[in-house]
């Protein structure tokens, strides 16, 4: 316990919590919400690296990552709806929005991005869908008819127009993906009452960790799906993804640390609140897990994997491990920001505790179900739109 010297305005930590601060209001669901939207934004970036920036090595995963993004985007609102006291009024945020609210715009950004992503998928898969429609019967034929948007023209001229549209959609999709997730960061960053959140770096950190989690998610699912289906893994693609993962992770981790260091260096009254948070309730989840185990180890692993030419077998052993570690790092970061920020009472004198329960409405079980849902949706999407078939109908072997 520190002793308040004369003239010092900083409150001594005596563990007094404002009576309304005992309860952590934004719990697991609000941890999942930025996590899922982050995966969406990151996966889209992977696809854009091929479609816009022409990173040819990423061709094998370019289409898959769009479908991956779609599956997670479908579920992005689920944790929010589960959290709301009145989910039946959720559309009010779009119908009667308050323009000064950082949260009010989510519906618009989400919907606009959803449309762009859907259109991009439709145009990219159109030639494949036309081919599939020929062979299909019954319901699937109708479904493919809808997905082909009534055109079976796959002439060279038509495809050229398609490619122009795809490039345009991918290009506007990049800033939209950035806005979608940067904005999620701003929802937290714009709350001046919470010293852990109130930083202009918050949108940037959210965005970079989104890219990181998306790339890691694609690496993991690509290798797993290829192994399960017995297809050959494109090593060049994995190697390139690992390099991008390393690059984005350098930026992400450095900015995460810079944010903390800035608070420490400026040492305003904010820091005096945060100091007790980082050395107390967040010590394990932040320092030990997020930074120590799940940032430092993947940081060096990624460095070695990018700089030294690993043997294929070794790379395929470490790539999924490092991806899982990165996915956990980002999940921990969301936890430490969302829950961590609420542990410190606005009394600046003490912290509360939070332990999620298994069966409650916003408990661990609903969280697991919501995280499994996009995987199931992705599997269903895979039944309709083949992940690994290119325009010419040639399947990756």
């Amino acid at each position: 316990m520190s002793v308040a010297a004369h003239g010092e305005t900083v409150a001594a930590i005596s563990n007094f919590i404002f009576p309304n601060d005992l309860h952590v209001h934004w719990s697991l669901m609000i941890v999942l919400y930025p996590y899922i939207t982050g995966l969406v934004a990151g996966a889209f970036i992977v696809s854009s690296l091929y479609h816009v920036f022409h990173i040819k090595a990423l061709k094998p995963v370019a289409r898959f990552s769009l479908l991956f993004a779609l599956a997670f985007l479908i579920c992005a609102t689920w944790p929010l709806l589960n959290h709301l006291g009145h989910p039946e009024r959720a559309l009010s945020m779009m119908l009667t929005p308050n323009p000064t609210s950082a949260m009010a715009g989510f519906g618009y950004i989400y919907s606009a991005y959803f449309i762009v992503l859907l259109l991009e998928i439709i145009f990219i898969f159109r030639p494949v869908v036309v081919g599939l429609r020929e062979k299909a019967t019954g319901f699937m034929r109708v479904l493919y008819g809808i997905l082909a948007i009534g055109s079976d023209n796959v002439s060279e001229k038509a495809l050229k127009i398609d490619h122009k549209i795809i490039a345009f959609l991918a290009a506007i999709g990049i800033p939209m993906a950035c806005v979608l997730h940067g904005y999620v960061g701003f929802i937290f960053g714009g709350i001046k009452a919470n010293p852990l959140w109130a930083t202009p770096l918050m949108p940037l950190i959210f965005l970079l960790s989104a890219c990181v989690s998306g790339i890691a998610g694609i690496i993991l699912t690509y290798i797993l799906l290829m192994k399960i289906s017995g297809r050959a893994i494109d090593m060049d693609c994995v190697q390139t993804l690992i390099k991008f993962l390393w690059g984005f992770f350098i930026l992400d981790f450095v900015f995460e640390m810079l944010e903390l260091f800035s608070h420490f260096y400026m040492a305003t009254h904010h820091w005096h609140t945060l100091e007790t948070l980082y050395s107390g309730p967040l010590f394990n989840t932040f320092w030990v897990f997020q930074v120590g185990i799940f940032s430092v180890i993947p940081f060096f692993l990624l460095m070695f994997m990018s700089l030294i030419r690993f043997k294929d077998g070794l790379l395929l052993f470490f790539a999924p491990i490092v991806s899982i570690m990165i996915l956990l790092q980002v999940l921990l970061m969301r936890w430490n920001v969302v829950v961590g920020g609420q542990l410190m009472s606005k009394s600046e004198r003490g912290a509360t505790t939070f332990h999620p329960m298994w069966l409650e409405k916003e408990g661990i079980l609903p969280a697991i179900i919501i995280m499994i849902a996009p995987v199931v949706i992705l599997w269903i999407i895979g039944k309709v739109l083949p992940f690994w078939v290119d325009d010419e109908g040639v399947e990756a072997v």
Partner: protein, 267 residues
């Protein structure tokens, strides 16, 4: 011997009679506004509101809490809980107890929000106590309210007369306002699943009555009035030289809740 059947018949008759008279009396109450008449009978506590035809928006209300007067009895918290049926564990208003010892160490507590008063002495203070005081907390009715800024659907709004209110029929229960309030005066009502907070008893004030907590305070530590009324106590207090401060001025919310004799230890 009592004829049981006769007795039952008598009971039935009495029951039907009671129901009928009750229904008629109840219906009459619907026609004659007994409740409204009751309010009108209460003496006007904020002068110049009842019967004043000028727009209510010309009023500028202020709340002043006198830290030097509060005795921590908790009457205000009880009045508030009764008036608004506040669920246990949530607080529209509460009272904090500050104890400062000889070594400048500050001890703060607010068991059950001060609802039961402070009858227990703290035995964990290591050095002799040099200062002790109580600080009531409630909605700050900010000039620039963060809760209104962040509400995604406009359920939390500022009235033209400066009150910050919550429309529970619009609130989606997202809790963004709870995060944005620097004073932690908001909570999610577990029954209505909507955001709730102190309203400075808007419905009472509109009828010329003082907020319930102000009304019951035995030591007049809570003061309320119209700043445009130059005879009001709050006008005089804020105009005259007193040690007056607001909570967390650095937040830029510009509260209309003022504290008389606020100490630097209070957050």
């Amino acid at each position: 011997m009592i004829d049981i059947q006769k007795e039952i018949q008598k009971d039935r008759r009495a029951f039907i009679k009671n129901v009928l008279s009750g229904t008629i009396a109840g219906s009459l109450l619907m026609v004659i506004p007994a409740g409204a008449a009751l309010d009108q009978r209460l003496p006007e506590q904020i002068s110049g509101i009842r019967g004043d035809d000028s727009p209510f928006t010309e009023k500028k209300f202020a709340f002043v809490v006198d830290v030097t007067a509060c005795i921590g009895c908790g009457s205000c918290c009880v009045a508030d809980k009764n008036e608004y049926n506040v669920p246990d564990g949530n607080y529209r208003t509460w009272v904090e107890r500050y104890i400062i010892d000889d070594h400048d160490e500050v001890f703060v507590d607010s068991p059950n929000g001060g609802l039961d008063g402070y009858t227990e002495e703290r035995t964990d203070i290591p050095y002799p106590v040099r200062d002790t005081f109580f600080v009531p907390k409630l909605c700050n009715m900010c000039e620039k309210p963060s809760c209104v800024q962040v509400c995604p659907v406009g359920a939390t709004y500022k009235t033209e007369d400066g009150f910050i209110l919550v429309d529970k029929n619009r609130c989606v229960g997202c809790g963004y306002c709870i995060q944005a309030c620097p004073y932690s005066v908001r909570f999610l009502n577990p029954i209505s699943k909507t955001a709730e907070k102190c309203t400075w008893c808007y419905s009472r004030v509109r009828q010329g009555l003082l907020p319930a907590c102000v009304n019951v305070c035995p030591v007049h530590a809570r003061k309320f009035g119209d700043l445009n009324d130059k005879t009001s106590e709050v006008y005089k207090l804020l105009r005259e030289p007193h040690v007056i401060s607001v909570l967390k001025p650095g937040m830029g919310n510009q509260p209309a809740l003022h504290y008389l004799g606020l100490r630097r230890e209070v957050v």
